[in-house]
């Protein structure tokens, strides 16, 4: 029952289950899963039960209920919440409680959702394996020796582990889609500007976007409808009404839809054969449903990862300068006396607080970004990357002149063993090969479960659409899920 939001709504409406019962079940499963999976950084025990009671009360009193009434939802620990810490899985914010709710959090509360906890992530969303978290790694429910992906590893794993039907993640270079693929769930990165970033702790502001994860496209659509929409507090928010997505699921007839299959991606070195085959199979399924399949190339795809790994760290180096130990967050209490003598008490406090508060990967990216923005180097790096970004947008514009959607793999491999890439940042960065394009171009993209590899690990395929065309992703994604059983597969230890 905890694997479908729509089912939970039905059960409550029919009186078969109360919000409190559902929430208690979710909390039980979260507790049970923590020692093995460690998907959560904070469990909102009392708050969740109180919220569930309020929903049941409302229902009893015949009051109107929100669209997510009584549904347990987990949110990535990068979204500001007043009733739970917001740590970004960093020692820097270990005890930080935000003074306000992120816009998406307010929207969830307004729709009577039950916030059961905050999910684990790579520190400040920097990473693709949830291994850089200060609170320890999250493990993949399909194979606990494997990564759940990242950075929204906890948000994907908590669904795969059967603890909640819905979660919110954030995606800067693939951080929703890649863990969704690794954990066999569905994950959507909406168009840049669709979802307010107010209250999303910034990693790379021009790329960050909040999005939903769930087993099915239908549940993803439900949560998307709630979180999308214009908000004046975010200057980059698009002045567009929230899209109507559930209505896009009415039909599975894809006639008239042109889908471009990403030819280059399929011949990439390092692409798992099982994933290549899953993409080919998906193309066949879309064709069966009436879509026209066309081969498409993105000519500058070699530049995507390099451009991304200049732009994202550059913005991050700036965004993370606010963590200085002066106002909130970690402040070093035992300043080295030689540092105080050499730099003065202020600079020593900065240096030591930041040295202690940030982990290796965060420091690496701050240094890369600081370098890329430095006088004399910014033309070679940051400004060059911005030029590449314009070319990348041009790639997509040209592709979408020919087709409605692009089909390809979400990741080159299935979930890799924990620790495999930890000492090899470049290998880790290449995991983002197929996902960063959508962030750089600001377009929406969805990862869909597409079966299991021979090793029994989930495979994800990705659909990308032009800006503001989330409904097309939902439409085609739902048609795919109507024709395939992949999103119904559950990891062996978490079949309830």
């Amino acid at each position: 029952m905890l694997d479908s939001a729509t089912e939970i709504l039905r059960l409550q409406a029919s009186g078969e289950a109360s919000a409190v019962e559902i929430t208690q079940l979710a909390l039980e499963r979260i507790h049970a899963s923590q020692s093995g999976i460690n998907a959560f950084t904070h469990i909102n025990e009392e708050g969740a039960i109180a919220a569930a009671k309020a929903v049941d009360q409302k229902r009893q009193n015949g009051l109107p209920l929100g669209r997510l009434a009584g549904i347990p939802i987990a949110v990535k620990d990068i979204l500001c919440t007043t009733d739970m810490p917001t740590t970004c899985s960093s020692k820097m914010l270990q005890n930080f409680v935000a003074p306000y709710d992120a816009t998406v959090i307010s929207k969830l509360r307004n729709e009577d959702a039950i916030l059961v906890g905050k999910t684990n992530m790579d520190e400040f969303a920097m990473g693709g394996s949830t291994e850089t978290s200060f609170f320890g790694v999250t493990r993949n429910p399909w194979n606990q020796l494997a990564t759940p992906g990242g950075s929204s590893g906890g948000a994907a794993a908590c669904i795969a582990a059967g603890t909640v039907p819905l979660s919110l993640g954030s995606d800067t270079g693939g951080s929703i889609r890649q863990p969704a693929a690794f954990c066999g769930v569905t994950g959507l990165k909406p168009t840049y500007g669709r979802v307010s970033r107010y209250g999303l702790v910034a990693f790379a502001s021009s790329l960050d976007q909040i999005g939903p994860l769930a087993w099915s496209v239908e549940d993803v659509a439900l949560l998307s409808e709630v979180i999308c929409g214009f908000e004046p507090r975010d200057s980059t928010s698009l002045d567009q009404p929230a899209p109507s997505l559930l209505s896009a699921i009415q039909s599975t007839d894809l006639r008239g839809i042109k889908i471009g299959i990403l030819e280059d991606a399929l011949v990439r070195d390092g692409l798992d054969e099982s994933i290549r085959r899953a993409v080919m199979d998906a193309a066949e399924i879309f064709k069966q449903a009436g879509a026209e399949i066309i081969e498409i190339k993105l000519p500058h795809s070699d530049h995507y990862v390099p451009a991304y790994y200049v732009i994202a760290p550059s913005e991050a180096s700036s965004n993370l300068s606010r963590y200085d130990g002066a106002h909130y967050g970690h402040r070093s209490t035992n300043l080295a006396s030689e540092s105080v003598t050499k730099n003065g008490p202020l600079a020593a406090t900065y240096c030591q607080s930041r040295s202690e508060g940030f982990g290796t990967e965060v420091k690496r990216r701050i240094m890369i970004g600081t370098y890329a923005l430095s006088e004399g180097y910014s033309d070679q790096y940051y400004n060059q990357a911005l030029k590449a970004r314009r070319l990348i947008k041009g790639d997509y514009d040209a592709a979408f002149n020919q087709v409605d959607l692009l089909l390809g793999p979400t990741t080159p491999t299935t979930a890799f063993p924990l620790g495999e890439h930890l000492d090899d940042p470049l290998q880790m960065y290449l995991v983002d090969l197929f996902t960063v394009g959508a962030n750089l171009a600001g377009i929406p993209a969805i990862s869909l479960p597409a079966g299991l590899s021979e090793a029994g690990l989930p495979i994800g395929i990705q659909l990308q659409a032009p800006a503001l065309h989330e409904s097309q992703l939902i439409f085609a994604g739902a048609a795919y899920q109507a024709a395939t059983p992949h999103h119904h597969l559950r990891p062996e230890n978490f079949r309830f």
Binding site: L79, C80, T86, C88, L93, F96, A98, P99, Y100, A102, R197, Y198, G199, L200, V201, A202, A204, S205, S206, P232, R233, D234, S235, T236, S314, E315, S317, S318, S321, R322, D324, A326, H327, Y328, P345, L346, A347, Y350, T370, L373, S374, E375, S378, Y382
Partner: protein, 493 residues
């Protein structure tokens, strides 16, 4: 300027002026900008730089910045954008200041200074640019309790500033002061800024060096940026001091602009000298880059034109108009204009009623300005309305009141808030019947035969002593009328 040892020098000055825009709220959030609130009470997640908070541009700040640009004859480019200037300091909670790097809201402009009565400017000072940026908070170093104790007040964080950068076109401290006066006048006149240096709503940094002419060659001294000047007078003094200091240092060391990069010096007002603050300017790399949280702003031509149409007269234009329209002197026009829009408006209301620009001007220069200064009130708080003031002055013009009685009435109006008519009544001032006055005059002349004698012997001024006596016997007697009557009568005796 020629120094004692004969070398001719030229002073080169460029000014960077920060004016705080008079917006209700901060540049990127809804917090109040009121000065003087308790520390850290006008703050929110945005100006505190909290994780996840995002800036949103204040339209009123854009409006005022464009207005300021137009008042400074600047071009307003169609697109402007925001950049982050990055440095660590505890009063800058985000670790970067949102500013404008390569596309400022106001491009090149100029300001005329030393405008004479004919309206011709003596000097045109070019303005390089003016850009918007957010202010930082205030650090208060409590030295009494040890070097580690610094208090931070973040109320000022995010307050909108317009940084106006002049070209190095100023050639003396006097010109610098004139430039600042004219700039301040325009900003206050248009309600763009209060320009109170004491409150920090106007701040000035001066870049100064010398061009020394030696044997037909021009030698430039190293550029110094002077900071911490708290009044226009301080700016003047600091520049004068720096000119002498740089000349002396050059004589001593021979160091030129090629030998030393720009240094920053603070002004010590009490000691009357500058002191070294920062040696090498090039060490700071602010790593400017476009702020990804904010979109570039388009300012269409129509919007600029709409703002232009609300500007009204510039202070210089008002000065000229007051002279031609009301026949007052250039100096008097300047005094009136320098008091600001409300003062000008009050003056013009009064003139409309009394019809005598000169007389009104003299009252404004003296009695009204003195009252405002004594009572320390704003012009808008002046206790007598323009209509009542006009009525009072009209009574002088028509001879109903003499100047000294008028002052009594004015004082009564101030003290009791009565109209001119009511005050006249309250003071028992009535106009004296001319036959009554004539009788009084005859009486005085009869009682004072020596005055008549003196007058006949050619001492016309002897009559004057009787005017005072007439006033004593009847305070309502108009001295002018008394004088005329006395002269008429004495001729017939």
């Amino acid at each position: 300027m020629t120094h004692t040892d004969g070398y001719t020098t030229e002073t080169i000055i460029g000014l960077e002026v920060h004016v705080q825009l008079k917006t209700n709220t901060k540049l990127f959030c809804g917090c109040s900008t009121t000065f003087g609130a308790a520390p850290n009470t006008q703050v929110c997640p945005v100006c505190l730089g909290h994780p996840g908070a995002l800036p949103v541009i204040n339209e009123q700040a854009l409006e005022l910045a464009v207005k300021a640009g137009l008042a400074l004859n600047c071009d307003i480019p169609p697109v402007t954008k925001w950049d982050r200037k990055q440095y660590f300091y505890p009063d800058l909670p985000t670790g970067y200041q949102i500013s404008q790097f390569d596309l400022p809201i106001c491009a090149e402009g100029y300001l005329d200074i030393g405008t004479d009565s004919s309206g011709d400017a003596e000097r045109k000072i070019r303005i390089l640019r003016a850009h918007l940026e957010e202010d930082a908070g205030k650090s208060m170093h409590d030295e009494a309790s040890g070097q580690f104790d610094t208090r931070i007040d973040l109320n000022r964080c995010g307050t909108p500033l317009l940084e106006i950068v002049s070209q190095p076109d100023l050639r003396s401290s006097l010109e610098a002061k004139e430039y600042l006066n004219e700039l301040k006048l325009r900003m206050t006149h248009l309600g763009i800024s209060d320009c109170e240096m004491q409150e920090g709503s106007l701040r000035v940094d001066a870049n100064v060096n010398l061009h020394i002419h030696v044997d037909g060659k021009k030698i430039a001294t190293p550029i110094v940026e002077i900071k911490n000047m708290n009044s226009f007078r301080a700016v003047e003094r600091a520049i004068d001091h720096e000119v002498d200091r740089q000349y002396d240092v050059w004589e001593e060391t021979g160091k030129t602009i090629k030998d030393e990069s720009k240094t920053t010096r603070g002004w010590d007002d009490q000691a009357g000298r500058t002191f070294l603050q920062r040696e090498k300017e090039e060490s700071a790399d602010y790593r400017y880059f476009p702020d990804p949280d904010l979109l570039p702003v388009r300012i269409p031509r129509e919007r600029v034109q709409a703002i232009q149409s609300t500007l009204g007269e510039m202070p210089g234009e008002v000065r000229e108009r007051l002279q031609t329209q009301y026949g007052i002197k250039a100096y008097d026009a300047e005094v009136i204009v320098n008091q600001g829009k409300d003062f000008i408006e009050l003056y013009e209301t009064v003139v409309t009623i009394c019809g005598d620009g000169k007389r009104a001007s003299s009252w404004f220069q003296q009695d009204i300005l003195r009252t405002i200064n004594e009572q320390q009130i704003a012009v808008s708080e002046f206790p007598i309305s323009g209509t009542d003031l006009g009525t009072l002055i009209l009574k002088i013009t028509t001879g109903e009141l003499d100047n000294s009685r008028a002052r009594d009435v004015f004082q009564h109006m101030l003290d009791h808030g009565d109209s001119a008519e009511a005050s006249i009544k309250a003071l028992g001032i009535t106009s004296v019947d001319s036959s009554e006055l004539e009788g009084l005059c005859r009486e005085l002349l009869t009682e004072n035969p020596h005055v008549v004698e003196d007058y006949r012997n050619g001492k016309q001024q002897a009559i004057g002593s009787l005017i005072g006596q007439a006033k004593k016997r009847n305070p309502n007697a108009n001295p002018k009328t008394v004088r005329e009557l006395l002269l008429q009568i004495v001729e017939t005796l």
